[in-house]
Structures are given as C-alpha cells and as structure tokens.
Symmetry: C2
Subunit: 314 residues, 2 copies
C-alpha cells in the first residue's frame, strides 16, 4: 500500500447480467455470461447481480442462473446477488449459495398488481417468508428490498412519498436488511431523489440501500449525484446501459456503469473500478449479444486528455 | 395572474442557432432558421444566441447572421445574442442591433493559441476594445465573456483553476458585464463545477455568468445540477443537443435543451419554457437540417404519466 491507494468510497452494484439480460430478447449463452462476469470482476466491480431465480418458461434468459451463481462464487471478494420474486425463487437462490438476495416490492399499488399480480401487503409478507427461509437455510445472506416505482409509476402516475416510506419500513420490519429505491420508470428528478432518500433514511436509518436510477429521460447521472449528495453510497448500474425501457425503444434504461464510474472518479470519489478495464468489459458483453445496441457516452468519447485514475486497494 | 403563475427561476439560453449550426457541415437556409427561431420563441425561451459575426468564408453557415438578428429582434421580450470573436465582428453585431454579445476567451493558453491564434492576454485586450466600441455605439448592450476550456483542455489537459479565475476577472476588469464558464471539451465533473463556480463568484461576485456544459461524457445534466446547487441561474443548451463534439463523432456535444427543461421543471424549478412546445420545436430544426442527427432522451421517451407543468407568466 502506498500513499495513493484509497479504499473505495462508493459501491457500484452491477446489474447488467440480471436486469440487463432480462430486458433483451436474445438469450446470452452461459459460457459468454461467465466470460462477461469475469471481465466485470477484472475491472474491480465488487457486487454483481448475476441473475434471477424465476421459472425458465417465463424468462429463458435466466434459466442458467444457478450455474452462473456457482461460477461467480469462485471470485473471492465479490458479492454475488440474485433477484427473487418469491419464496420459491429464494429457496433456489439460497441453495445455490448467493451472498445477497434482492426482492422487488412496488411502492405503487397499481404497478404491484400489474407486475406480479399481488398487492403490496402480499409482497411484504413474501419478504417475511423469505427472511424466515434465509434464517433457516443461510443466516449470513443479506436481503435487500428493491422498492420499485419509488419515484413515479407509468400506470398510476404519482406515487406518494409516504407510500414509499411505508413500504420500505414494512420490508425492514419483515426482515429485509436494507431497502433501496428504484426509479423503474425513469420519472425521478434530483430534488425528489434528495427529499425521498432523506425521508426513507429518517424512517429506516442506515438500512437505506442503493439508488437504482434509470436514464430514460437523461437524468440518470444527475439523480445519482443527488443521491450521493444526501449520503447514498451504493448505486446500481449496468454495463453499456443494458436493460431497456420497454415503452421507449432505443432509449437507455439503466444508468451506464462506465459513465457512472467516470463521474465519480472524475469527482475524486473512488469506486474501486478501473475505468479502462470496465470499458474493455464491453467487448465480452457485445460478444455474447451480437447486434444488441449498447450505450455509454464515456466509451464513445474516450477518456479526457491527461486522465489519471487513482490506484485502489485490491 | 393567478396563484399558479410563477416567474421563471432559471434562464435557459438557447445556443443552437449559433453553437449548433456552426458545428454541422450543412448550412441551414435563412428562411428555415427564422422559422426555427420562431418555434424556439413560441416555447418560451427568452434568450437565444442566433449567430456569430465572423467572415463568411470561414463559416458560411453564419453568413446571414445580420438578417437573422433583425428577424429575432421582432420578438418582444427575447434577448438576442450573437457571438463575436473580435472588435470587427462586434461592430457588425452592434450595428445589427443585438442585445448581448458573447466573446469566447480561453482559460487554456494552448487552446487560445490553437483556436484563435492569440494569447489569452490579447483576447482580454480584445474584450477591452469591444467594451469601448459598445460604449460608443450601443451603451445598453451587455457583454458576456465565455471562458472556454474552463474545466479542462483537449490540448494541454488540466487547466488550473487559478487561471480560470484570473481570466474571468481580467475580462470583467476589461469591461465585460459577466463571465460564464464553458466546458468546451466535456471534461467537467460536478465537484469541479461547484468548486470553480464558487471560486469565480468569490472573485467577480454577481458578474458570474452562465454554465455552458457539454454532454460529451454524459455528465451534462449532472453538471448543470451542480452549477444550480451553487447558485448559477443561467444555463446554455441547444435544441436536440445540436453542436457536435468534433473529436467524438456521434457523441452529443451541447446539453439538450429539452432534457434540461425537463430536469428543472420536474424539480419544480420554473424555466418559463413549455416542455411540449420546446419538443415540438424540433420539427422546425429537423426541417432545416434534413438527415442531421439530433439528440434528446425526454423527446424519445415522452413525458411521464401524470406530467403537469406549471403555468408561467408570459
């Protein structure tokens, strides 16, 4: 360790292999997924959502998640996450050995019913059932509730901030270790991001989790900055912005990992991620999904003249 | 006036007809320019940089600027701006009747010489000469110094913050009414934006002018947010992000007016610009530059469900 070595100050949680792949029509072959995950790890990413445990007939892209988890677990120091929509998926995930589960819970009543055909109250009970399973099977595993439509809903429009705080608090009471806020619909703005994260922190303190922002209307990075300003230190993003927005073809959905890393590193906020290596990881993504459009302004423009990135602890 | 009528809190200064058109190869026919400017005005934009007074052999796209100025002046309440690189251009602009001049002055010594073959000191003397001309010919006209490469230079790399403060202060001492900061190269980050605007304000107070941000690496809106946070209230942007970045083909240069308006309006910060009308103005731009790529996430995704914009004073 020398004087320039710094511990990362923020955690970039890469969601491309789950959120990204789930949104595209093509299915990436397993071998390509593993190669892509290896490239993500090589760039310094320390948390990766590698898949979801859902019926293969619903999402064939995710049929190999258990195998992908097993491979990801061979990388020391990487937190291996998976999404689970219910207790059945959670049991599979826990038996596969994941370090962390994420459960989507809508803040919007209308979206909850449309998306999973269950009320918010029923989803909170699912969190409770999953937490019990976790206690039985693998007590060290962390559970995150991902509060979707936290900043607005494409079905009901406005989502009341009190509803978001209530759902987040209920998830924590039901046994989740943290609750993150997701701008599923790309409706968030920076003022709202600051206000809502502050309110949620007022209710659940340091169990407040990640900011999962979308770039649907171009505000992805501005919203991440706003979340950082009020103390959020975990940010979901996906390589190449993979993870489209179904109602806006061509518009990027998820925040682009490469641009997010550039923003923080340029600000002097260490991410632990090597910008050049994370840009290089696009090659593995593109190889596994030939012809699929990927996004990213920093990769396209290149690094600025004189760019020097900090040297981080490995 | 009713209770919902609000005065604009920020000024969006549209630079497309100058900065945008100057960057594309095609020349927009004068009649189309006028129609485009009319559409911009109809959306509520109150300041427009309509052209530059430069030799037509260098920039044929700007050959009709005097005519464009005359037309723009027929719109009451709109501040008509033009860029001038020197006293000769300034005299033409003043005689054409512009309300405001902008003079580009590089903070980077290397960029100044490469761009205009003059040192920064020589450009500051040009500002002084232009201010004298203005006092003689049209004392009501405002002069803005646009400090380019304020956040980094693609030739010399880092630009010292003290250099930026010095150039801005010298321009004010030479007679400029305000000095804005321009991220010409898309190298700015939010931490730097906050720090540098604070430093410049420390030196020249309320003569601190606009934030002119580029979206080259995707940080355009985040940087505008950062500038807003430290008190900046004037923002340059261009419709459709017109104004490419020469070294990154396909990458958007200027911040997209539509996305900037969306960000502020969604935050509850009134811009005076009607979002639907400014999106509609893209049609006039595209009609005048067929086939030219334009950008914008909000126009592509559409307005969020339940979107209601405030009603502004006209």
């Amino acid at each position: 360790m020398n004087a320039r070595v710094r511990e990362p100050e923020v955690l970039i949680s890469e969601v491309g292999p789950r959120d990204g792949l789930q949104s595209v029509k093509a299915t990436m072959p397993t071998a390509q997924k593993l190669r892509w995950i290896d490239a993500l790890v090589a760039s310094g990413l320390r948390e990766i959502e590698v898949g979801s445990f859902v019926p293969a007939r619903l999402l064939p892209q995710m049929a190999d998640t258990a195998e992908v988890v097993r491979h990801a677990l061979t990388h020391p120091g990487v937190t291996v996450m998976a999404l689970v929509p219910n207790a059945r998926g959670a049991e599979s995930a826990l038996r596969a050995g994941v370090h962390k589960l994420t459960i989507p819970v809508s803040a919007s009543a209308a979206h909850s019913f449309a998306n999973v055909r269950r009320t918010r109250e029923e989803m909170i009970e699912e969190v409770r059932a999953i937490a019990c399973l976790r206690d039985d099977i693998a007590p060290g595993v962390k559970i995150e509730a991902g509060i979707s439509t936290a900043f607005g809903c494409s079905i009901q429009g406005e989502v009341k901030e009190d509803d978001v705080v209530w759902v987040a608090s209920q998830c924590i009471a039901a046994g989740a270790d943290e609750a993150g806020l997701s701008d599923s619909t790309g409706m968030a703005n920076p003022a709202q991001v600051r206000r809502l994260f502050n309110k949620v922190r007022g209710a659940i303190g340091d169990k407040t989790g990640a900011a999962h922002m979308h770039n649907t209307r171009g505000l992805g990075l501005a919203n991440c900055l706003a979340a950082y300003d009020v103390g959020v230190r975990t940010f979901d993003s996906s390589l190449g912005g993979l993870g489209g927005c179904p109602y806006a073809p061509g518009a990027s959905g998820n925040v682009v990992t490469e641009d997010l890393v550039f923003m923080f590193e340029a600000m002097g906020v260490s991410t632990g991620v090597d910008l050049q290596r994370v840009i290089a990881a696009r090659e593995a993504l593109q190889a596994g999904l030939p012809g699929e459009p990927i996004y990213g302004m920093t990769p396209e423009a290149g690094l600025p003249k004189g760019w020097v990135q900090g040297v981080y602890a490995t």
